[in-house]
Symmetry: C2
Subunit: 492 residues, 2 copies
């Protein structure tokens, strides 16, 4: 494989696939549609996990763990949910292998070891969790239950892409139980806001918060909150969803409680999740033709130091200077790598760290030793400057915030430039194809119109942006009355 990435302008999809592989984030495995997340990619995911986990705990949630398998009879209990996932389920039917009598040294499924009831590998855990909650909840005193789990799930997708759509993926799924509709609705909205804060504050990805239309909702939900991001190629990406499930699962699994008035009622539910798909959002929001660009908050290595030397003696002198610097930087809580490998030339190292998105690179050579300086390169802007040695640490500390903010601002400008208000369907089609991005247009609120627009343009309603003022108008397709503009886009 060539060292350089295919430019984004030439083939965005190819650029993405190459970047994921070359930056050592993930690769395809021997199992159809399942990925291997490589150490560098996993280190970024771990940083996301740590921050999200902290935010969940700060909002009162606890972690727990529920089984990987869901018996078929439980899986089918909530019909809308079951129907939504039935077509992409991995099903366990047997529990034993045996030697294949026709094939020395090979194994086959033992036909005697057929399960009485098939087990579904969880595509999402509402069924098994609500079946469990039934035994945990008797009275309003047992509520709310605020639980999250970090888990793997499986959805047998036909067309897969690393991080964006894989048969197995890693995620967290929150599952909460409440005594009142209002409380559950607030929880669903709260967690969507947590996701938005995480995406914007940590991942430097601006998102639009809103509600899904009925046809785009989670199977089994009464309302789905979402955060929608815009990728560099003008396509939208759903970065997180939070569902108000009403009493659907409580009814399917008969989860009742005695309320404060002493009456029996069904419990109210939410669920919410983000997944390793966020890695795809991260890549496609910030990266460039040289590779990954990471916001400092998520970078496994925030600063890399590369010595430039001809002789061993020069390297020893640089080592001394570098080590002092590393101690100081690490002392300030930064993660620093010193790359003094002698098997690679500085140019190759520079290219590697550009590919892997390390926010700040320092180079120290013999001239720097003479002048008391270092060369500092910023990954996001690809700018370089010479800094006096004693200003380096404070400069880098400032830069961490500056880069984080600047990456967000850049993505925000791009996103805002790519929200286009459109009032007629011809313009809708032209903008969608030529300018791309979100189209803010009126919609008459019917499934039919939504489907028809999707058929004609491949654009879907990404969200109903409920946090902006609702100004009525006329549907961009039918001309029928519309309560407010919604956001259309082609999406990942």
């Amino acid at each position: 494989m060539s060292k350089n990435l295919t430019p984004r302008s030439e083939d965005y999809s190819k650029w993405y696939n190459e970047l994921v592989i070359k930056a050592d984030l993930a690769e395809n495995s021997a199992v159809r549609g399942c990925m291997v997340i490589k150490p560098y990619g996993f280190a970024i995911w771990e940083k996301m996990q740590a921050e999200l986990d902290k935010m969940f705990k700060e909002t009162g949630h606890q972690n727990a763990y529920f089984p990987l398998f869901i018996p078929k009879s439980l899986f089918e209990a909530e019909e809308a949910n079951a129907e939504g996932f039935a077509k992409e389920c991995a099903v366990v039917t047997h529990y034993r292998l045996q030697n294949d009598p026709d094939n020395e040294g090979k194994l086959r499924v033992d036909p005697e070891a057929k399960l009485e009831e098939e087990l579904i590998v969880r595509p999402t855990s509402e069924a098994i969790i609500w079946n469990t909650y039934r035994n945990w909840i008797q009275s309003y005193r047992d509520l709310p239950i605020l639980i999250n789990q970090w888990a793997n799930v499986v959805r047998w997708e036909m067309r897969t892409r690393l991080f964006l759509r894989t048969a197995e993926f890693l995620w967290q799924e929150g599952h909460t139980a409440h005594a009142t509709k209002e409380e559950a609705y607030e929880e669903a909205e709260l967690m969507n806001n947590v996701y938005a804060r995480f995406a914007e504050g940590f991942m430097a990805i601006p998102v639009i918060k809103g509600l899904k239309t009925e046809s785009e909702r989670f199977a089994g939900a009464e309302d789905t909150f979402c955060i929608e991001a815009l990728m560099q190629d003008g396509k939208a990406l759903q970065a997180g969803t939070s569902h108000f499930l009403g009493q659907n699962f409580a009814k399917a699994f008969d989860v009742k409680f005695t309320n404060k008035e002493g009456k029996q009622d069904y419990v109210w539910a939410t669920s919410w999740g983000v997944s390793t798909r966020l890695m795809g959002a991260l890549i496609m929001t910030h990266s460039d033709d040289k590779g990954l660009v990471l916001p400092p908050n998520l970078a496994p290595i925030q600063v890399v130091i590369v010595p430039i030397y001809r002789s061993e003696e020069q390297l020893e002198q640089i080592d001394v200077v570098a080590k002092g610097l590393i101690d100081e930087l690490r002392g300030s809580g930064l993660s620093v790598k010193y790359d003094n490998r002698d098997t690679q030339r500085p140019g190759a190292k520079f290219a590697q760290y550009e590919l892997q998105g390390v926010p700040v690179r320092l180079a120290i050579g013999p001239k720097d030793l003479e002048n008391g300086t270092v060369e500092l390169a910023r990954r996001d802007t690809l700018t370089k400057e010479i800094i006096p040695f004693d200003a380096v640490v404070s400069k880098i500390k400032d830069l961490m915030d500056e880069i984080q903010t600047s990456m967000f601002d850049k993505a925000l400008n791009f996103r805002d430039e790519h929200i286009t208000e459109v009032d007629d369907f011809e313009t809708f089609k032209t903008v969608l194809e030529e300018k791309t991005g979100f189209i803010s247009a009126h919609w008459d609120g019917t499934d039919e119109t939504e489907d028809r627009i999707k058929e004609l343009t491949k654009a879907t309603i990404r969200c109903i942006p409920i946090y902006t003022e609702a100004v009525p108008g006329n549907c961009v397709l039918t001309g029928n009355p519309s309560e407010r503009r919604v956001l259309f886009a082609k999406a990942y």
Copy 2:
């Protein structure tokens, strides 16, 4: 269910099962043999994970993630390993459900959606990982690979018990690749030592390090290091294993590299793991008839404060005092819970925190306010004392270390008192039945003798304690020459 636990002396196994449920650690699920780990139990597991993860990273390992599924053809490639796990495998055969035409509202497996090749839900990941490593390794420069993953695995055990033996469990599995036999062997030993340090330093569980006999080794390993702990009922529990895999997996998956001399050789391997089984070890090492006893290092709540009051006014006064204390304790890095619920009486709260093993309980009542004191109760010793208010924080800080050490010492004494040197088989049987614990006895080194002893007594060789001097003798069963004593016990 009664509030009190069955005493250990009456029925140890029943005591264990009740404790796991009543202390809210875990419960059985609707899926045969799979458990639900409840928030309190999971919080303890998270503390274990965090510490182990730190220790793995300090020894140079990185986390990654490999697929849940293993195609059958890969699974069977390393024959010893495949044979070891074939009889307890969950097998995915289909990837879709459909509406059941004979059963309105029900689903059935879609017979059209049969996989060409069955997928095994990983019981351990050597096969999928070594199949992946083949593409990562060309030269000695690509070595070592030092990777760990946190994952769920499935082994279809017929008789299951919460934490100790479950069909699905959580674990970490390290998988490393090396250029030389020596380096791989050292890695396997190093990680066993890491496990020992973790068990003793964090879990306060004394362990014996050693090697497994051939018949007790991991399927596919050339040597298995282990740490063995002793439970209160005199049965041993294998708390962690670290395997030197030789070149077995490299040969099965054709993983070769060019060594420094320019020659092709197969790569050397290790794997090592600990699981949620450690929760069982924790419970059965320290707990008592009142419930769980947690070492401070692993306690999700280290200090609980319970106000004792008759009037609202008293509670308000206690609140003020308690809040100052909480700030100070939290400022020292301790996790503190203030339980001022008005739905429970102090006695019920005391019982709950005893059941859940909170190391230190403070009670503050009206008299304490008058006298400037608090009542401090230690969970491990069940002792109480009155402490002047201004001495509380420093007292508790000291107590955290003291309890941790004292719990370890207590378990160590018990363990050491239950290692009995035995030189004839009659005594062997008597000690095993009456005194229980480890029996240190000579063994002639043959599978036959090992099997025979197991048949006659149910005792297995828990480990060959390689870190003590080898003194020759005569086999306790056959009288044949023996190189050294080994440790026998009945085991979980």
